[in-house]
Symmetry: D2
Subunit: 208 residues, 4 copies
C-alpha cells in the first residue's frame, strides 16, 4: 500500500454515495406522491472497501496515482426495479439530471456476461462540495430487476467465498439459476404489458 491516507481519500466517495442515495430515494417518493408509477423499488449504496480497490488496481494494472480516474466503481449505487422495462426508464431519468454528468453506459442486459450476470451500468461524474472546494468523483450506478439482484447477491457471496475461482459444477448451477431468473423476468414482463393494457381499457371505458 502507498503512503496514502485512505480514510481521507474515501471521504468524497462516501459523500457522493450518501447524496446519491438520498436523491434516488427522493425520486421514488416524488413519483409515488404524484400518483405516477415509480420504476424504482429500492436503492442501496456502498463505498468499495480499500482491500477491494487495491485488488482491482492490481488486476487491471492501474497505477496508484490513477485510481480515482481508472477505477469507476469506488462509489457504487444500486437501483432495484420490478420489471426489465423499468430499467430503461430509470436510465432515461438519470440521463436528464443536471446534477451529474454521464460518462458512459454498459448494457449487461442486452449483452449479459458469460457468468450469467445481468445489469445496466451508468458511469457518472458527480461533483461533491468539500471543505476544500468542489471535487468531481466517478460513481457507478447499477440498475437491475429484483431477480437480477437476487442472483447477483448470491453470486457475489459465492465469488467472495471461492475468491473468484468457482468450481465448475457451482458455476454451472449459477448459470442455470441465471436462466431461471431470466425466464422469471420475461414472464413478469409479459404480465406487465397486460396490466398496462388492462389499465388503458379501464380508462377508456370510464370516458364513455
Amino acid at each position: 500500500m502507498d503512503g496514502r491516507d485512505w480514510g481521507k481519500f474515501l471521504l468524497p466517495y462516501e459523500q457522493a454515495v450518501e447524496e446519491l442515495k438520498v436523491k434516488f430515494k427522493a425520486l421514488r417518493s416524488e413519483l409515488k406522491a404524484r400518483d405516477e408509477y415509480a420504476p424504482i423499488e429500492f436503492v442501496t449504496g456502498r463505498v468499495k472497501r480499500i482491500s477491494s480497490i487495491l485488488d482491482k488496481a492490481r488486476r487491471l494494472s492501474v497505477p496508484m496515482d490513477r485510481i480515482d480516474t481508472d477505477i469507476e466503481d469506488i462509489a457504487g449505487i444500486r437501483i432495484m426495479c420490478q420489471f426489465v422495462d423499468d430499467i430503461h426508464r430509470v436510465a432515461e431519468l438519470i440521463r436528464h439530471r443536471k446534477d451529474l454528468v454521464l460518462v458512459y453506459e454498459k448494457d449487461y442486459i442486452t449483452n449479459f456476461k458469460e457468468s450469467g450476470y445481468r445489469s445496466y451500468h451508468l458511469i457518472v461524474e458527480y461533483p461533491v462540495q468539500t471543505a476544500l472546494g468542489s471535487m468531481p468523483v466517478l460513481a457507478e450506478i447499477q440498475i437491475r430487476t429484483l431477480a437480477m439482484n437476487f442472483w447477483a447477491t448470491i453470486e457475489h457471496s459465492l465469488n467472495y467465498k471461492y475468491r473468484d475461482q468457482l468450481p465448475p459444477h457451482v458455476r454451472d448451477r449459477l448459470r442455470k439459476a441465471s436462466e431461471a431468473a431470466f425466464q422469471l423476468d420475461n414472464e413478469m414482463s409479459s404480465i406487465r404489458q397486460e396490466i398496462v393494457h388492462a389499465q388503458q381499457d379501464f380508462e377508456e371505458s370510464s370516458v364513455i
Copy 2:
C-alpha cells in the same frame, strides 16, 4: 368507520415495528461482527394501512372491538434470507428471544398457498412501553428467501391493481413464476450445502 382515533390506535403498533426492525437489524450486525454466518439479508417493516385493516375486518367478520386481538398483522416485520435453510435458523433465533412471546407459527414453506405464496410466519406478542404503561401488541414476522420476496412483492402489486380478482391467465403466469422461483431456491440450496462442505474440507486440511 367507528369513532375511534386511528392515529392514536396505531401508535403502539408503529412503536413495535420501529423497535423490532432495530432489533433484527442488530442481530444481523452482531452475527457479522462475530464472524459468523448471518442468515438475515435485510429487514423491513410496516404498519398496516387503516383502509386495509378495515377491509380485512370486514372480510373476516371481525367486530371493531376485537381488531387488536383478531387481526394479527397490523404490525408487520419482514426478514429476508439468502437460502431456504436460513429461514429455520432465523425462526429458531426468534423462538429463543426473551423480549417477545411466540403465539403461533404458520409454515407456508412446507405447505405453500395455492397462489404460489411461500413464507414462514411467526405471530408474536411484543410488549410496548407507552406513556400510559406497558401494552402488549401482536406482530406478524414473515421470513422469506429473496426469491420468495421477489415473487410476493410482484404478486402484491398485481393483487392491489386487480383488487384480488386476478384474471385467470395472470394467475397462471404467477403460479409458473412461483415454480421458477421455487426451483431457483432449490438450486441455490444445493450449492449452499456444497459451500459448507467445501469450507469444512478447507478447515480440516489446514489442521494437518
Copy 3:
C-alpha cells in the same frame, strides 16, 4: 386556501431539506475526519407547515401565485455552532459552495431583533432535480450558537402558545434571558480565543 395540491407543491422543498441536511452533516464529518476543527455542532431541517405558510402569506400580503418566490423559508435548515465566531466560518463555507446560489444574507447577530432573537440567515437558491426536470427552490439557512438556539426554541414555543401576543412580563423575561444567553456566548467566545492561543503556544513551543 386555493385549489393547489399542497402535498405536491411541497415535494421539491422536502427534497431540498433532505439533501441540504445530508450535505451539511457531511461537511461536519469531513472536517472531523481531516482532524480539523468542525465549526458545526449539529444540523436540523424542516419544511414549513402549510398553515404557517398561509399565515405568513396573509401577514405579508403575498399573493398565492408568488408564495414560492416571496416566502423564503418554506425550506429551512438550521446549523448549530459552539462559538459565535464559528457562525462566520460556516457562512464563509456556504458562500464558496458550487451547488447553491446565495441570494442574500440577514445578520441578526450584529443587529439582533428587539425580541432578543439572534441568528445569521442566508437565503439561498438550491436546484432540485425532479422527475419533471431541474427546479430551483429558495431555502433559508439559519446559523446560531447553541445558546441562541436554546433561547429561540423556547421563544418559539411561547409564541406558538400565545399566538405571537406575548404578555408584557413574559416578553420582559424573555428579553432578560436573551441577555443572559448573550453573555454566556461572550464568556465562551473569550475562552475560545484563549484555547486558540494556548494551542498556538503549544505548537510554537514544540518547534523549539
Copy 4:
C-alpha cells in the same frame, strides 16, 4: 490492554444504545400524537470509546474483569428538556418502564458538581437479546435542560482539549457561565408556571 476483543465486547452496548434511543424518541412522538406536553426535546446516545473506558478504569482502579459491572456509562443516553421540571417528569416516566430495571439515581441538579455540572443521572440495567441469549447491560441515562447541555457540551470539549487540567481562569469562566445558565433555567422555569396558569385560566373560562 488485555487480550479482549473490544469490538465484540462493545456489541451489546451498541445495541442497548440503539434500542434506547428509538424507545425514548418514540416516547416523545407518542406524547405529541396524544396532544400532551412532551417533556423531551431530543435524544442522543453514544457508546464510550475504548480509550475512554481504559482511562476511566485506570483512574477508578477498576480491574479489567469488572469493567462491565463497575463502569456504568459505557452505554450512554442523553435526554434534553426545555424546563428543569421536565427532568423530573422524564425520570418518573423511566421509573415506570417495564423494559429496564433502575439501579440507582444521581441528582446533580439539587447537588451540582463543583465544576458547575448539572444533570440528572439514572443508572439502569437493560436486557439486550443477543444471538447468544439475553444479556443485561448497564446504561447511564442523563437528563438535562438545553442550557445544562449547552454548558456541558462546551465543558466537555474544553476538558478534552486540556485533558481535564483546566487552567484556573478558564475554570472560573466556566463556573460563571454555569451560573448564567442556571439563572437562564430559573427565569424560564418561572415563565413555565405562568404558561401553565394561563392555560388553566383559559380552560376554566371556556367551561362557563
